[in-house]
Amino acid sequence: MWNYEKRLQFPVNIKEPNAKLAQSIMSQYGGPDGELGASMRYISQRYTMPYREVSAVLTDIGTEELAHLEMVSTIVHQLTRDLSMEEIENSGFANYYTDHTVGIWPMAAGGIPFSSTEFQSKGDAITDLHEDMAAEQKARSTYDNILRLVRDYPDVYEPIKFLRAREIVHYQRFGEALRIVQDKLDSKNFYAFNPEFDRCKS
């Protein structure tokens, strides 16, 4: 069950369209380290997570990522909504325009469509939490790359900076979640059994 609030987590008010920036930023919607993959990763992993605090982290961060993909989509929408045909033709946006006009569709900056192969749900608590921590760092790097591209566009810079900061907080929470898991396992061998599958519980 989910509830929707009709507001953005952080305001986005972009005045000038810019198809080039839109094409880069789009990657954080449907790219390999984007918010759609992030949300699906955590929400998928939580069902077999045997520790309730960790399921809470996966649920709440997975939910926040939905608010982030709404922000990224909004940025892309506001950067493309008033484009002229000339801008579309001269900015390298014609390929996207051909298939989607200026509709929002999840794909990477390089044109690769969103795919669930970009995240894993391994059914192993240690493996999944390491994936989650890596995912937060990969998204942080992508936002750092985008921040260099948008340094002269404050309307775009501020919401991207907010999203980058959230990656760091989530990395911290997943690190704490990993420690909660390890504290419940055999301290001499964390890999003695998989708490999501093997029946011998601590």
């Binding site: 609030e5 953005l8 987590q9 979640a177």
Partner: protein, 89 residues
Amino acid sequence: MMAPGNDRMRMLHDIGVMGFVIVEMNEYLDTHPTDKNAMDYLAHYVRMKNQAMKEYAMKYGPLRISDADNCSQNEWKWATQPWPWEGEC
């Protein structure tokens, strides 16, 4: 003097600040579930945000369906008021 649009943006900004504190404390509490101070802090912000959401719903229409009981308007503002991706209006 503030234009009506500005009052709306200010209320939305305040709700955003309170909403952010709630998200942040929620995620913190998930890995620190016995931190009583953090629970009290979160509860304080939940009460404040609920109040602000009610006031916003009465003035401009609901931001969530659970505030739809606070709208006396004879129009379904959930559908007719701007969507978040439209930006400042």
